[in-house]
């Protein structure tokens, strides 16, 4: 799958820009702050309906404009599709596929798939559990777009349940009257149902990614591994199937109930889990060097690429300003590993940051204009 044309209107710094793209490698080169990342950010948005840099849509709309539009021609084998997304901060976004407006933005998921490498990736290894959960969940959605619905259901149940717990906690503190908690049982069921589905997918994903990540790490840093991924659930147990995970979550919720009511927050569920990244016998976080952490983060992204490719969904590879962060050896290895991708989009501040293996089309980006060299 690759993007043959990208067009943006009032997106970030661009009032309007048209970028024709080819398969293979394309590099966007230009000084910082000129809008290179904005281009690949737009491609990433089509794949995840979110930005890798900010959590809300508002910063994506050009200052003074009301809405932003991302439009992309996508080619999958012989099939051409035109995707249009209109970003309306504060209101519902709108989507069109092949000029038909009978689609919801979520239906766009799965047409464009990306694997994005960015300086922010270091947080996968060094950052909070939330970074690793997001990594898992975005990859799950790329594999199976349906899961976007399950994720948003889960988030909604969680919000409802937390609100209920919070008011129960408040009622306890003021006047000591106990609240009617009969509805909590209902939310437990719904939380466990959506949670079990998400958990089953995460466990399945980790089992598939593990060997690929180990292989990628060996290629990036020979002899430095092995790499092991270990899921750390907040609901203890060994369950793997959806039914068993449901029971496991229900049991853990029952166990935690008293504490949850005291603290007014849901303490059990996929939103409290973590993925332990081990290098050798030690956790990477806190033990791995800066260079090792980088290799680990890259290995996870490369494993995502291998996984999607093996499942028949060749993703677009996006390398946003990563080469400047790496030493010469890792830079060359990474370049060799991504070079065979069907489409590889690279951004770099200077020409020299783009490894020679990745020779291809080149655009210069300056003051909001994008020109092919």
């Amino acid at each position: 799958m690759h993007v043959t044309h990208l067009s943006l209107a009032d997106f970030r710094s661009y009032a309007r820009v048209e970028v024709p793209l080819d398969p293979g490698v394309t590099a966007f080169v230009g000084p910082n702050g000129q809008g290179k990342t904005n281009l690949v950010e737009a491609v990433g948005y089509l794949a995840t309906l979110g930005s890798h840099r900010v959590s809300s849509d508002a910063p994506l709309v050009r200052m003074g404009a009301e809405r932003a539009v991302i439009r992309a021609q996508v080619r999958q084998g012989e099939r051409q599709q035109l995707i249009e997304l209109e970003l309306n901060p504060g209101r519902a976004n709108r989507a069109r596929v092949n000029r038909s407006s009978q689609v919801k933005p979520r239906d766009v998921l799965g047409i464009v798939r990306t694997v994005l490498f960015a300086p922010e990736d270091l947080a996968l290894v060094k950052g909070d559990p939330g970074e690793r959960r997001r990594f898992l969940d975005e990859l799950i959605t790329a594999r199976s777009p349906r899961m976007a619905g399950v994720r948003s259901d889960y988030d909604r149940v969680l919000k409802q349940r937390n609100t209920l717990l919070k008011s129960a906690a408040l009622a306890r503190r003021h006047g000591g009257r106990t609240m009617d908690l009969s509805t909590l049982d209902v939310w437990d069921q719904h939380l466990a149902r959506a949670g079990a589905e998400l958990l089953a997918q995460r466990l399945d994903l980790i089992a598939s990614v593990q060997p690929l990540a180990d292989k990628a790490y060996e290629q990036l840093a020979p002899g430095g591994g092995p790499v092991a991924l270990e899921y750390k659930p907040s609901a203890p147990g060994e369950a793997h199937t959806r039914e068993d995970l449901y029971e496991q979550l229900m049991a853990a919720l029952a166990e935690a109930r008293k504490q949850e009511i005291e603290r007014g927050v849901t303490l059990v569920g996929p939103h409290r889990d973590d993925l332990l990244l081990k290098l050798g016998s030690l956790p990477a976080k806190g033990y791995a060097s800066h260079g090792e952490s980088w290799s680990y983060a890259l290995a996870l992204r490369l494993a995502s690429f291998d996984l999607l490719r093996a499942e028949g969904n060749e993703p677009v590879l996006v390398l946003d300003d990563v080469f400047a962060e790496l030493d010469a050896r890792r830079r060359e290895r990474l370049a060799e590993l991504v070079a065979p991708g069907e489409q590889v989009l690279v951004t770099a501040a200077v020409d020299d940051d783009v490894p020679h293996v990745l020779a291809g089309a080149r655009f210069t980006v300056a003051e909001g204009t994008v020109e092919r060299v």
Binding site: Q160, D180, S182, T183, V186, W187
Partner: protein, 199 residues
């Protein structure tokens, strides 16, 4: 911003469901240009609906008297009650002409975010209606979204021990549509709710 009363009107209209700032402005200017009689009729309809319409003492549907038309209609089957969230759901089901029982309007769905708990819905009234044992089936027709499902689960858990039949409306494929256009969630639900084909 417009001058005083015009802006007040736009603000009031903008508070109505489904009306954004642009539509509010359009409606306001439509009213400004309309004939005084037409505007008076609109104003009167608004006042009257508040003064005359009340809620059925039995089922909570909109009514002009103590009870709504459906609750007063003796031809309706008193042994089946269909539970819905809003009076507009009653209208929707009535349009099908398939249901001959009576209704119970909850007045919303359980949603802690919106501050709605079981006590804020007409659940106590529903239990009172079930107390004398004349009702044999309860159809849960709350919306097929998260809050509607939670409300249905809550009611089912509460009522099942009373020994009457509790059913939930089926979710699934739209009639006359194409299978390929159904989204995965709907299609998944349709699979879960598949039934034996009697031939």
């Amino acid at each position: 911003m417009y001058e005083g009363v015009v802006q007040d009107l736009i603000d009031e209209l903008g508070r109505l469901p489904g009306v954004g700032p642009k539509s509010a402005q359009r409606i306001a200017f439509h009213i400004l240009q309309a004939e005084p009689v037409d505007v008076r009729r609109l104003a009167q309809a608004l006042m009257e609906v508040k003064a005359k319409v009340r809620f059925c003492a039995t089922c909570g549907n909109v009514a002009q008297e103590e009870q709504c038309n459906i609750c007063r209609d003796t031809r309706r089957d008193p042994s089946v009650i269909c539970v819905v969230e809003e009076p507009k759901d009653v209208v929707a089901i009535e349009r099908t002409r398939e249901f001959r029982g009576r209704y119970h309007v909850l007045g919303g769905a359980i949603s802690p975010i919106d501050g709605v708990g079981p006590d804020d819905l007409r659940i106590r009234e529903l239990l009172a209606r079930l107390a004398d044992g004349s009702v044999t089936e309860l159809i849960l027709a709350t919306d097929p979204n998260l809050e509607g499902e939670a409300t249905a689960t809550y009611l089912a858990r509460m009522i099942k021990p009373m020994g009457l039949k509790v059913t939930r409306l089926a979710s699934g494929l739209p009639v006359g549509g194409d299978l390929e256009y159904a989204d995965e969630v709907t299609l998944g639900r349709a699979f879960e709710g598949r039934r034996l084909l009697d031939v």
